[in-house]
Amino acid sequence: MNILIAILVLGLIAAFFGALLGYAAIRFHVEGDPIVEQLDALLPQTQCGQCGYPGCKPYAEAVANGEAINKCAPGGDDTIKKIANLLGVDVEALDENHDQDSTLGNGPTVAFIIEEDCIGCTKCIQACPVDAILGAAKQMHTIIIDECTGCDLCVAPCPVDCIEMRPIPETIQNWQWDLNKIAVKQLD
């Protein structure tokens, strides 16, 4: 008899906790993988595809599933460090295959369409991952500089090579102090 009571009590307790867990699973259900969202937030969102994935989110998903963390060229070492921090893995050097090419070496660039050469083929529009190119078939195209991420995906498809990557001009708004250039003044 005693053994039956014990089984019954334990069984009831098990059923109760099972129900509680089941309810919690539904009540606190999280859509998607939060780690992917966090990884995606760390990536530079250039959507350049240099990592071999069609955009930053797919790469974030891949990293969450064990892909190497050192494939983001525009993000560079900073991004790798942040991802390593988040995932608790070792920092790796930027993958050589995904190294920044020389055109991107000197600071951020944006695409520029040489408008007199544009034939209006819309190929670059289809290539742009962030819809930053304005134009229509047989009409001249142009880049919305503020939206361009400088991924250079539009350069290759252009049949007349009228797109080039240009460095962002330095203005008062984005100017950076350079201690090496400016003599430091002090009153004695």
Binding site: T171, W175, L179, I182, K185, L187, D188
Partner: protein, 716 residues
């Protein structure tokens, strides 16, 4: 609040944390009156002289402008207009170096001064008390008044506030060494300043008005006390001298004992702070209808013969001011040009170009001698390691930890910098002043601040890019679904039609008869379109445009040819070959042109021609380049004595084939010439191409409307 006033009336004030007592050096200029200067020859007026945005231009090059005329306007409330400081002619609107530590260029209006100083029509207001608040605010906004203390915040925004204001604080502390501009202004224009304060009083209706002034300006204090005698509400508060009492938050602390929380504005605690020079500008603007076109500038430093305060028109180049005060440049100094600092010795920046103009916020031009400020002359820094003495945190008026900040700034640890409240740093330079290791702390903070701001911009941009990327993905997905849907529908429609037809006709023969009838009808329609005069005409003109384009191309080519006529033989040979190619290509195009008129693919007609044309153009360029390349290569290989260009043969399909060229060129020169010709040709081609394209585009539009007909017929 009563207790605050009680304390103030007893002459007791609070103290802010830290602060320093650098040598004042104000005696250089404080005893001399403000000098009126002769007009400069040229004024350079930057479009943006304050925080916010620049306005839209109202004038063009060559316009005559009168003194006080607005040069820009904007509907954006954060934009402040700029005005012509004197009459003259606008000689240029271009980028020029402006008063900014970067020495970068921004858009400026250049005015050639005519020397007449003619005013535009003004409306002088004799009694500002009759104006409504909105009228006054509009006058202030139109006069382009921005805070003249340093930051240049648009004044009309600062005075256009709703909540109850307890204190209006007038900042007359002028705590930075050397600068005496406000001091002299108070001595000479105290009545006008008080008028300005009364206008602010009317706008803000504060409970109390406090003028904060340091005790090292006895003449100004006396003048202000005299001018404010009649107004109970205004009290002149004489404060102990300490740098940086003139900082907004520091002055509030000293006068009211309140601390403005990090990340909030004084307005949130019911306090508005205005600079004393701004008050003068407000009275000028509201009462005399004089926009902000001049300000007092302290010209000082031992490198000047006659250091003095001057009334400088906005836009006056610094070089003009220096000339007027007898600038002695030390020729044999190590640096090429002696340093000139805009702003005070602690917060100013050295200007790289003496054409930099005076703007709304420039209160001082400091030209130190070598003995006075040796660090300005030699670029090498004497910085040594931090010894952790802690003097910097003792003097920091914002109660930050400068040495911690410095380490984090060097390590570029932005998170830590934000945690240490870097953005509460007011760049006062007190920490760098006391540092025994001569670490330029403020410079590190400035760099870090700019970096963090840029990082924030990047983050914003990344966020935007992400949203756009996601939106695009959704759009592509939708389009795909829509396309599939359409295909499905079309397939279903076809199926229904098929089954209907078979049901209707019953037998195969009737279906055949049907098809025959359809073909007949179509033929008829085709004949109609062919015979249709408009279509033929259209086609004719299409041909004509082709011919025209060809002619234009040939002309351009001839032009290029003439240019390099000395190299006649090679040139001619080449041009001929390329002309041949062109003719053949044109021949190619023509059949394509004529062919489809009667064929069934009418709608694609024009686009075909165009593509053909483009490919032909591209082909030519490629051929020319290939010719040049082949020549160079051949020369390298053989180094033979003779060279001739064999005629090029081109197959009729799209892939142009160039037969290998037998090269017999004598020297390098020829190869280079050939390359040059090829380049010139491709340029000419590009020109002709654009012309042809324009014509074609026109043509295309006409054709499109024509195309609609056949398309409709087909769909039937």
């Amino acid at each position: 609040m009563e207790s605050i006033i009680g304390r103030i009336s007893q002459g007791k004030f609070w103290q802010f944390h830290g602060g320093i007592h650098p040598p004042e050096q104000k005696a250089l200029t404080s005893s001399k009156p403000i000098k009126q200067l002769p007009l400069p020859i040229q004024l350079i007026i930057p479009l943006q002289q304050h925080i916010g945005r620049q306005g839209d231009l109202l004038v063009n090059v060559g316009d005559n402008v009168l003194k006080g005329q607005a040069l820009t306007q904007s509907s954006n409330p954060m934009a402040v207009p700029v005005h012509a400081s004197t009459s003259g002619i606008i000689s240029a609107i271009k980028k020029s170096a402006i008063a900014h530590p970067s020495g970068l260029s921004e858009l400026c209006i250049f005015i050639d001064v005519d020397g007449k100083d003619t005013w535009q029509a003004r409306e002088i207001c004799h009694d500002f008390t009759k104006l409504t608040q909105q009228q006054i605010i509009k006058k202030i906004a139109d006069a382009g008044i921005a805070g003249m203390g340093g930051a240049g915040f648009p004044t009309h925004i600062k005075v256009n506030t709703k909540p109850d204001i307890n204190f209006l604080i007038i900042n007359a502390a002028e705590c930075e060494p050397y600068i005496t501009a406000d001091d002299l202004l108070m001595c000479e224009q105290s009545e006008a300043i008080v008028d300005g304060i009364r206008i602010l009083d009317k706008l803000l209706n504060p409970a109390f008005i406090l003028i904060g002034i340091e005790e090292n300006k006895p003449r100004a204090i006396k003048a202000l006390q005299h001018a404010t005698k009649a107004f109970e509400k205004i009290s002149v508060c004489v404060l102990p001298t300490k740098y940086p009492t003139g900082g907004e938050k520091q002055l509030i602390k000293v006068l009211t004992g309140k601390e403005v929380k990090s990340g909030t504005l004084p307005i949130h605690s019911g306090i508005v702070v205005q600079n004393i020079a701004t008050c003068f500008a407000i009275s000028d603007a509201v009462i005399h209808d004089i926009p902000l076109i001049k300000r007092v500038v302290t010209l000082t430093g031992q490198a000047l013969n006659k250091p003095q305060n001057v009334w400088a028109l906005l836009g006056t180049p610094v070089s003009h001011l220096l000339k007027q005060t007898g600038f002695i440049s030390e020729k044999n100094s190590a640096v090429t040009s002696p340093p000139v600092i805009m702003g005070g010795p602690l917060m100013g920046f050295s200007i790289l170009n003496e054409l930099v103009p005076i703007v709304k916020t420039s209160n001082c031009i400091l030209a130190p001698s070598r003995a006075e400020m040796p660090s300005a002359f030699d670029n090498s820094s004497n910085e040594v390691e931090c010894i952790r003495c802690g003097q910097c945190s003792d003097v920091c008026p914002s109660q930050l930890l400068p040495q911690e900040l410095q380490w984090s700034a060097k390590a570029k640890d932005h998170q830590q910098l934000i945690k240490l409240n870097l953005f509460d740093c007011i760049d006062c330079g007190a920490c760098a002043y006391v540092c025994p290791s001569q670490i330029p702390l403020v410079q590190y903070y400035r760099v870090a601040k700019a970096e963090i701001r840029q990082q924030q911009q990047f983050d914003l941009k990344a966020e935007k890019a992400k949203i756009r990327f996601e939106a695009r993905k959704i759009r592509l997905e939708k389009e795909k679904v829509a396309r599939e849907e359409k295909h499905k529908k079309a397939a279903a429609a076809r199926k229904i039609a098929m089954s209907k037809r078979s049901a209707d006709g019953g037998s195969a023969s009737s279906a055949v008869a049907d098809a025959l009838a359809r073909v007949k009808a179509k033929k008829k329609a085709n004949e109609k379109t062919v015979s249709d005069s408009s279509t033929t005409k259209n086609d004719d003109s299409d041909d004509k445009s082709q011919v025209k384009a060809a002619i234009a191309r040939a002309k351009a080519k001839r032009l290029a040819k003439n240019k390099v006529s000395e190299l006649a033989t090679i040139n001619n040979a080449e041009v001929n070959t390329v002309n041949d190619i062109q003719v053949s290509i044109n021949n190619e195009i023509k059949p394509v042109n004529e062919l489809p008129v009667s064929s069934r693919e009418k709608p694609s007609n024009s686009s075909d021609v165009k593509q053909e044309n483009h490919s032909a153009d591209d082909k030519k360029a490629k051929i020319a380049a290939a010719v040049a390349k082949a020549k160079a290569r051949a020369k390298e290989k053989s180094n033979a004595t003779q060279q001739s260009v064999q005629p090029l043969s081109i197959s009729s399909d799209d892939d142009a084939q160039v037969t290998p060229i037998e090269a017999d060129e004598a020297d390098n020169k020829k190869a280079r010439i050939a390359a040059a010709i090829a380049k010139a040709k491709s340029k000419a081609r590009a020109k002709a191409k654009t012309k042809a394209k324009e014509e074609q585009d026109k043509q295309l539009k006409i054709e499109r409307s024509e195309e609609l007909k056949p398309t409709n017929e087909e769909s039937e």
